[in-house]
Symmetry: C2
Subunit: 386 residues, 2 copies
Amino acid sequence: MNNFEYKNPTKIIFGKDTIGKLAKEIPTDAKVLMLYGGGSIKKNGIYDQVKSALANVNVIEFGGIPANPEYAILMEALTIIKKENITYLLAVGGGSVIDGTKFLSAAALYEGETPWDILKNNIRSTKGMPFGTVLTLPATGSEMNSGSVITRKETKEKLAMGGPGLFPAFSILDPQVITSIPKHQIANGITDAFTHVLEQYMTYPVGGLLQDRFAESILQTLIEVAPKVLKDPTNYEAAANFMWSCTMALNGLIQQGVPGDWAVHMMGHELTALFGIDHARTLAVIAPSHYKYNFEAKKVKLAQYGERVWNITNGSIDDKAYAAIEKTEAFFKELGIETKLSDYTKDYEGTAEEIAKRFTDRGWLGLGEHKSLTPNDAEKIVKMAY
Amino acid sequence: MNNFEYKNPTKIIFGKDTIGKLAKEIPTDAKVLMLYGGGSIKKNGIYDQVKSALANVNVIEFGGIPANPEYAILMEALTIIKKENITYLLAVGGGSVIDGTKFLSAAALYEGETPWDILKNNIRSTKGMPFGTVLTLPATGSEMNSGSVITRKETKEKLAMGGPGLFPAFSILDPQVITSIPKHQIANGITDAFTHVLEQYMTYPVGGLLQDRFAESILQTLIEVAPKVLKDPTNYEAAANFMWSCTMALNGLIQQGVPGDWAVHMMGHELTALFGIDHARTLAVIAPSHYKYNFEAKKVKLAQYGERVWNITNGSIDDKAYAAIEKTEAFFKELGIETKLSDYTKDYEGTAEEIAKRFTDRGWLGLGEHKSLTPNDAEKIVKMAY
């Protein structure tokens, strides 16, 4: 097991009819900017619940944060934060709204020339404007971590940021929100969380026995509840386990003391930036190819995953490892998630070369658990995913 | 799954040679009271490592906190805290030293008549004097939770306290400390952590699917590493997983959203108070009888535990549940932990009645996951454990 440092101060308020607890978490003298997305919260009743809970607080609203939170739009919100002397941010939405709010939390206190530097130079934020979240879409885990990914259409870029100052002060998780989420978004959420676990687990054994079992626990739970929650989002038990699994998949716990490999996300982000494919679907496209390409390096963990999560008991290590990749791909397909780039665009020729060029241009640091994969490797992996 | 609220702000610093990181965590202008136990830290080098890390900090020492931290001794430390204007506490020890430090953290800021009230009236502390810990004995999980148990010899009482203000600011976990722990204490630690998990798991199913799997993960890991760490405490991988399992067993995570049943601890505490039996050993005495006595209420979870943790695949629910209890008892015995009260004292007659009387006198609130067990039930359970 590797050495690690872990601290996660976010308060989780989980369960049925918990949105009303909002009022207790935000200081009454705060001036709040409430951020949300395309407006679905006005149809499903969440907007009304939030407004009702905050009836006695000074709240300004900023809606319209898109999936893959866009830098230019967030800069509009930043102008309001400064003009209106906002002191507290409240994200009501999914990962995109929460990620956008984290950027604003950092940008509001940033003293450098332009907030873009935070992303471009990956500046770690040790302090941010305080913020809470009301989660409306389980998937990214952003509600209990300090990371964020921001998109800039102008330059077709999608960059990560974060820091210990960017944990939500609180996050409210009411599994009942799932009843109003379209099925394809639920499938995205399951795929996103599942891949988050894989990125922190599918490397090589370092004796993180408990971490491995926790990771496998989340995968097993997602596999168990996925068909139930897709069939009937009002199944509260399935919804609650889906929601809690998404949070635990990326709140930092399972990655402590073990290597990680975020290559699938890095390549996937480029597919979203280039084609606008849903984030989760890009992961399902890249992951199987990535594991096949890096088969020798990852096969011991792939086989362990096959045995413990998919109950694959027959064959050699190689057999089990390969079968585990096939099971994973089949699982995504059962969710209605296609696993080839050509399923999403006919314009895929040249994509692999373009992504390799972007990685090179941006100053290549190496991908994979050993930081040993080159842009040329990425090119081959993406091509395998056509 | 039940509703829950969860926040755990303790910073964990885990791994080889991490005690030196102490200096970064304590404010340089702090006036520190360093608390420890019987002095084993002076033999195993931990004392020197701590003193060296704090060379530039104003530190006063208070040693001699006994196993089952004693109220009268802690009151001496409290006098020093007040007289010397201490601003920061540092526990260097196991659960007893850390629990004692938590009491002092609360007592230092308590404004009521006598600090005994905090225990007697179970007053929740929302604020305490800041403190950190250097863990020398994995077992209780006290290094990452806000609970504490204090003993008062004068009245033969052992009472619990806690509150959101009593989380350690940081805890340093270096698995190398295990190399100098006597084997019977390692066995105690494994038993204590194992039982902590059982207390949060062995109730009835409420659809906490992920919580169940996390609990089973800790149990499986403890079973896997127990013989290794007992055979060779310098086995770093085994030691690290043992240590991290003990912390995760009682940092609050696995109990969220599920019922708990701390009856084994409640009865066990009385055996320690009456006979001075090691805390962990009292749990091993009570647990099997408790599960047999409450067999019908717990058999579904007992069978699930049997299947998933002990790989018991044959028989009915009842068969699996009963076999699971036997496996648990056998596991304790393999660690060298006896499981009958008569193994520890010849003076056991009347113990069950005495414990029932104490529970009644103290104002009985009910034990078990339904708070339905009476002092009479406790009497029968303790008798079964003779």
